[in-house]
Amino acid sequence: MRDSAIRIVGAAAAVAYAVFIAWVSVSQPRSMAEVTGGLTASIGAYRIDEVALDDGLAFFRADKFVEARAAFARADPAMRDPLTQFYVAYSYYRQGWGRLSSDDDLFRQGIAAVDRARAVAPDGRIVVDDETLGLRTADELRAELEAGITREMSDFNPLRVLRERK
């Protein structure tokens, strides 16, 4: 009886361990914070740091994007919160936006961030109720970032200098 219990417990532990290894192989966390964040998120126990998020939003609205991303990283170390990742992506957009041309590297990082946000959002849908933003959904933001790194004839239109940052 004792042997049977040991074998059942051992099998359950081995399956759980194997599932964890499969999860890290698929999700490819880049830090221990992402590993622990992913595990706590899988049981619904992940919480972001609200104070750090507010700090990040304050920096973001003051156009201090590097500082904003540092605060967002503190708020969401595991990159599991859709709203925070949306603002991270938006910070890349605003920092990389230029009247004549955009910074492709920053825009690519923005696309990666908005993809992360969509991956962890329920149904991949993100709508942000923020009056200060010109793009309030992840789909709009991604399209804008994608357009920024795409080369096309309209890039040479001189009227581009009149467009506004969203």
Partner: protein
């Protein structure tokens, strides 16, 4: 073999090997699953383990065992196979000429082990030497050639070496932490293999008394028994 060792210790050891062998820490954390070729090498290694008596399949998944016991045995075999594949992926360089050379080296070595039909002790020694030498070549020699040099002369020599070898030898930087984790993974893997239930037989050398030059037992004048040679 106790139930704890079979159901808990061995699967945990082998799964830890899988995890440690998959971790790469060159800057940020990443996880590399076993390559397709390492599955072939692992199948060959599994054959060698059974052939040498290092792993007695009847003591793990034999039909005389109960359903629960066979389930535990199957988990041990599956996790050991995964650990073996992960270890071979770990000690094989990621790209270039070294990747091809290491793959051939490991493949031929395992073929030799299979054709030589060695016993448990010799197989354990062979595995330790095989994995140890591959570890040294990848994480010490190749890593030293691929790590960005600090001095300008060393850097110039490194650039020259890359030029001469057309960049086929240099590897992506593995990071020192990966090497330490790899060492732990290999040590843990060998420990796990040593803990497997061995077969109840051993390979012995037979002494043929009628062979020329064969040693034979002789009685000395003082009555003690020793060995002598047949004329």
């Amino acid at each position: 073999m106790t139930a704890v060792r079979e159901a808990i210790t061995l699967p945990m050891v082998f799964l830890t090997v899988v995890l440690l062998a998959a971790v790469r820490v060159p800057g940020a954390l990443s996880f590399e699953p076993p390559s397709l070729f390492s599955l072939v090498l692992a199948a060959m290694a599994l054959g060698a383990l059974v052939q040498s008596g290092t792993l007695d399949s009847n003591r793990l998944v034999g039909f005389r065992r109960s359903g629960l016991e066979r389930m535990s045995g199957t988990i041990v075999v599956v996790t050991m196979f995964a650990a073996t594949a992960s270890i071979f992926t770990l000690v094989t360089p990621a790209s270039g000429l070294p990747a091809v050379a290491f793959a051939c080296f490991l493949f031929v070595s395992l073929l030799l082990v299979l054709s030589a039909a060695v016993d448990r002790v010799r197989l354990l020694r062979l595995l330790a030497v095989l994995l140890g030498s591959a570890f040294v070549l990848k994480f010490v020699v190749l890593a030293a050639l691929s790590t960005p040099a600090e001095g300008s002369v060393t850097r110039a020599l490194q650039v020259l070496f890359d030029g001469v070898t057309l960049g086929t030898i240099a590897q992506a930087e593995v990071g020192p932490a990966t090497g330490y984790l790899a060492f732990i993974a290999i040590a843990l893997y060998l420990t796990g293999i040593w803990m497997l239930p061995p077969a109840g037989w051993v390979i012995v050398r037979e002494l043929r008394a009628d062979a020329p030059g064969a040693p034979r037992l002789v009685e000395a004048p003082n009555g003690s028994i020793g060995t002598g040679r047949r004329d």
